[in-house]
């Protein structure tokens, strides 16, 4: 499976609900199947991204954390 990231989004430092809102805005420019990478520092964004993907039909392909920075890889549904 190709894992080319179509768009990267840096929402580090931003608080709820901006990580999700900014991601939703960024997704508008993507075609279904394309990937967006999001970097966030809000710990609440971990459950929020999972819930958001469940409710929107997007897929959380990958989730990792390094030094307090969360990286989410989302495929547009």
């Amino acid at each position: 499976m190709s894992a080319t990231v179509a768009k990267s989004l840096d929402v580090r430092g931003l608080s709820c609900p901006l990580p999700i809102v900014r991601t939703a805005q960024a997704m508008r420019d993507l075609a279904p199947g394309e990937l967006v990478e999001v970097l966030a520092t809000d710990p609440g964004s971990v459950p929020d991204f999972e819930a958001w993907c469940r409710s929107t039909g997007n897929t959380l392909v990958e989730r990792s954390e390094e030094g307090g920075v969360y990286r989410f890889l989302v495929r547009k549904g």
């Binding site: 430092g13 608080s15 609900p17 929107t56």
Partner: protein, 172 residues
Amino acid sequence: MTEPRTTEGGAPVPAGHDRLVIFAWSGDLDRVWPTLILATTAAAMGMRATVFFTFWGLFPLVRNDVRITGENWMQKMLSLMNRGGTEHLKLSKMNLAGAGPAMMRKLARDHKVASPTELLRLARDLGVRLVPCQMTMDLLGLRREDLVEGLDEPAGATTALLEAKDAITLLI
């Protein structure tokens, strides 16, 4: 027979819990904030989100550069003591003559929490329907040109209740 209801884009209105309707009755900072956070988040989740602004809830929609609203002295006095606009909201408790909101805004900036002004802009960008209550506008002397741009047409309780039917509804 009624036509199936559709959104502006022609798509069917999502049923039941895919819709959020908030009745925004308060002009307090600590109520306007969660109202706008929930509305923008719902829109980001693909829900159809509507906020119906009534009574004190209308004042946050007043343009920040408009000082006095109203046609007669009572309405003008009201706006003098209750300045509208997202930049001039008060806290429902610990307002401390304006020191409370100032501290709250400083904390929000430090924690990069979006301000009500930014959230209102985001709400419009995400297609949240922002509906001012026509009756309260008349009662309080708020004209369409006193309010920010990008709002839906002012409407009444019937419109609000129809939209709220089977939706998640909140009174904030």
